[in-house]
C-alpha cells in the first residue's frame, strides 16, 4: 500500500505534476506513512531528471517542471517534520538567492535545483534579496551554505555586503558562502572573502560537497 503511494509520488515528479505531488504527499502524511521516505523518493526523482539533464536528454523546462512539483509538496513535508520535531535529512542545508537590485532568476534556479537533485536541502528564497534577508534566512534554516547569484557588475558588491552582515552578526564562521553569476570571477570571489565560486551551474554541486565535507575528509 505504502509503496504504491511512493511510486505515485515518483511519477508525479517525473511527470512534472504539481497537483499529484501535493495530493500524494498529503495522503502519505494522512495515512501515517514515512515523510522521510517521501522526501527521499522526490530527491531520487529529481536526481534522475538532473542526470538526464546533464546528459543532454532533457532540458531546463523539464528540470524546472520536476523541481516545481517537488517544491509544491515540500511545505507539507516540512510541516509534518516540524510536528514530529524532526528535520529534513540530507547532505546539508543551503539557502540560495539572487542579490538585491538583481532580478535574474534562471542561473540561481538551476543551481538550486541541481543542488536539490544532489541531495541537499535547499531553500530558494528568490531574487532581489537584501543582505539582511539572506542572513535571516541562513539563521532561520540553520543553513550550512549560502549561495548568492549576481548577474551585473553593479549588483556584485551586494555579495560583499552580505558577507559583511554575516560578520557583523557573528555568523560568518558558521556558514560557507558560495557565489556565482555572469558578473562574478574567481578573483572577485576571493576579494570579498567567499568560500567558493564556480563559473557554471553544475560546478556548484561538487563545490558544495567539498565545502560541507568535514575538514580533512578525502585527504
Amino acid at each position: 500500500m505504502g509503496d504504491e503511494k511512493y511510486e505515485e509520488l515518483r511519477r508525479a515528479i517525473l511527470e512534472y505534476n504539481n497537483e499529484l505531488a501535493v495530493d500524494t504527499v498529503k495522503a502519505v502524511v494522512e495515512e501515517g506513512l514515512d515523510a522521510h521516505r517521501a522526501l527521499e523518493v522526490m530527491t531520487e526523482s529529481i536526481r534522475d531528471i538532473g542526470d538526464r539533464f546533464g546528459k543532454g536528454e532533457l532540458y531546463l523546462p523539464d528540470l524546472l517542471g520536476a523541481s516545481g512539483a517537488m517544491l509544491s509538496a515540500m511545505p507539507i513535508i516540512d510541516e509534518e517534520l516540524k510536528k514530529r520535531g524532526e528535520q529534513r535529512a540530507g547532505l546539508g542545508t543551503i539557502v540560495a538567492g539572487t542579490v538585491y537590485g538583481d532580478i535574474h532568476t534562471i542561473g540561481k534556479t538551476m543551481v538550486a535545483t541541481l543542488l536539490m537533485a544532489a541531495g541537499f536541502s535547499v531553500y530558494d528564497i528568490g531574487v532581489n534579496i537584501m543582505p539582511k534577508a539572506f542572513v535571516d534566512a541562513v539563521k532561520n534554516h540553520g543553513a550550512d551554505i549560502l549561495c548568492m547569484s549576481a548577474l551585473m557588475t553593479m549588483t556584485a558588491p551586494e555579495q560583499r555586503k552580505t558577507i559583511e552582515v554575516l560578520k557583523e552578526k557573528g555568523m560568518r564562521e558558521k556558514v560557507k558562502v558560495m557565489v556565482g553569476g555572469s558578473a562574478i570571477t574567481q578573483e572577485f570571489a576571493d576579494s570579498i572573502g567567499a568560500d567558493g565560486y564556480d563559473p557554471i551551474a553544475p560546478g556548484a554541486v561538487e563545490l558544495a560537497r567539498k565545502l560541507i565535507a568535514p575538514q580533512g575528509a578525502g585527504e
Binding site: 532580478i103 534562471i106 534556479t109 553593479m154 558588491p157 555586503k161 555572469s182
Partner: protein, 485 residues
Amino acid sequence: MTSGFKRRFKPFDVLTAGDIDAIEGGVLEILERVGLKFDVDQPEALNIFDDAGCTVDFEEKIVKFPPGLVQEGIRKCPSSFHVEARDPNNDLVVGGNTVYFQPGPGMWYLDTETMEPRFPTRQEFYDAVRIYDALPNLHHFHNNSPNTNIEGVHPLLSTIETYAARARYSTKVNYFSQSHESDRFNIEIAKVVGARGLFGIGSASPLCWSDDAISAEIRAVKSGMPLICCGGSVWGASAPATMAGELVTNIAESLGPLILAQLIDPGHPVVPGTFTFPTNMSTGAPFFCNITIALASAGFAQFWRRYRIPTQLIEAAIPNAKVWDFQSGYEKGMNALVQAQAGGSIVWIHGTVHGELTAHPLQAILDDDIAGMIGRFLEGIEVSDETLAIDLIEEVGPLPGFYLDRAHTRTWWRNEQYMPQSADTSTLAEWQMGGRKSALDLAKERMEDILKNHEVSVSLTSGQEEDIQKILEEAREFYGHRLDD
C-alpha cells in the same frame, strides 16, 4: 550630416496583415486587462497615467491602459527625428528608410595575448574609442561601448567615465541608458559638448519596468533626449516560448514608456526596440544569435512600420561565438542582414566578441566590413540612363569589346561595388606570396594604422574639458560612500 545607409527597396514582410492585426489585438488586450507594472519609488509616473485615464493600482503599481490611449500615444510618435552630434557631420536622422549601425556593449575587454576577458586599462579604452570613431560604418555609440567597465573605475561611475571618454575621443552620437542615475551626469556632459544622445531603457520582463528605468526616462524626456525603449525578454523564461506571444509581450512592454513619453511631451521621439532572445534550454542563458531572433525582430520591425515608427534591433551584436571566428561572422552577418532588410532603423553589430560580456576593437574592425557590405546591399541597384549604359554597350559591342579602359567604368565602379577594408580580397597567388594573411591579420594592421593616424575631427575646448571634470567630480560626490564598496 551622416547619411547612414538608405534602403532603396521595400523592407520584407514576415507577417501577413492579419497576423499584425492579431498581434495588435493581443497587445491592446494585455495592456487593458493585465497592464504593466511600474515598480517606481516615486508616484510621478503613476500619477501621469492616472491623470490620463489609465486604471492605476497604486499599491501594486499596476497600470492598465485603455486602448484609445495606447493608439493616441502611437499616433503622437514622430516618424523621424534629428540627433545632434558633437560634429554636425556625424548627426543622425533616425527613421524613414535610413539604417544606422551601432556597437554593442562588452562588460570586459578581451586580452589578445591570452584571449581571457579582463577590464581595459584607461589607455586601452581610449584607444578603442578612437578606433570606433574612425570606422565609417559605425554611426553612433552604445553607452557601454566599447566596454562597460574600465580598470580601477567603480562600476557606479563607469557609465559616466566612459561617456566622458567617448565625448573626448569621438564626435559621434552617444547613447545613454538607465544605470543607477548616471543619466543625471551624462545629460550634463551632453549639454557641455553640444550634443544630444539617444536614451535607452530596458524592461524587467515580464510586463514590468523598474524604478531605475522610469525615473531615468522622465529625466531624459524632460531634457529632450530621444527615447529608446526595449523589451528585454527571454522567450520561454520571461516571455512565452512562442514568437507570436513574445511579440505581444515585447510590444506591450515597449508601449509603456512610449505612452509615458507622449503624456509628458507630446510628439517626443521614441524608438521601440528589441532585446529578446530564446532561452538556451540547456544552459539557461539567452540563446544568442539564434536565427529565430532575426525572424522575430523582423516581425517587430514590421509591426512598427505600420505606424511609421523607427525601431532598434540589437541582437546581431550579441553572438554566441567566444572568439572572432567563422561562427562569429555568420551569427552577426545573418542576423544583421535580415534586420536591416526588415526595416530596422538602428541595427547593432560592432565590437562584441561574445554576448554582452566581451568586446574588442579588432572585432569592431571586422564587423565594420559586415556593416559596410549590408549597407551596400541596402543601397540597391541604381537604374538610370547612365547606369543602364545602353549607348556604351552599343559602342563596345561584342568581343573583343572591353570595358576596363572606359571612362564609364572609372566613373561608376566604386559606386557599384563594396570594397572591404579588412577582408582578404587578394588572388590565391598574391595571398601565398604576401604572407598568407587572414582577415584578422589585416584587421590588426588596420587597427595599428588607425591608432597611428586617426585624428578626432573636433577636439574639446579647454572649457569643455574643465566642465566635464567638474561633472565627474559632482558624480563622485553624488555616489559618496557607495564608491567604497
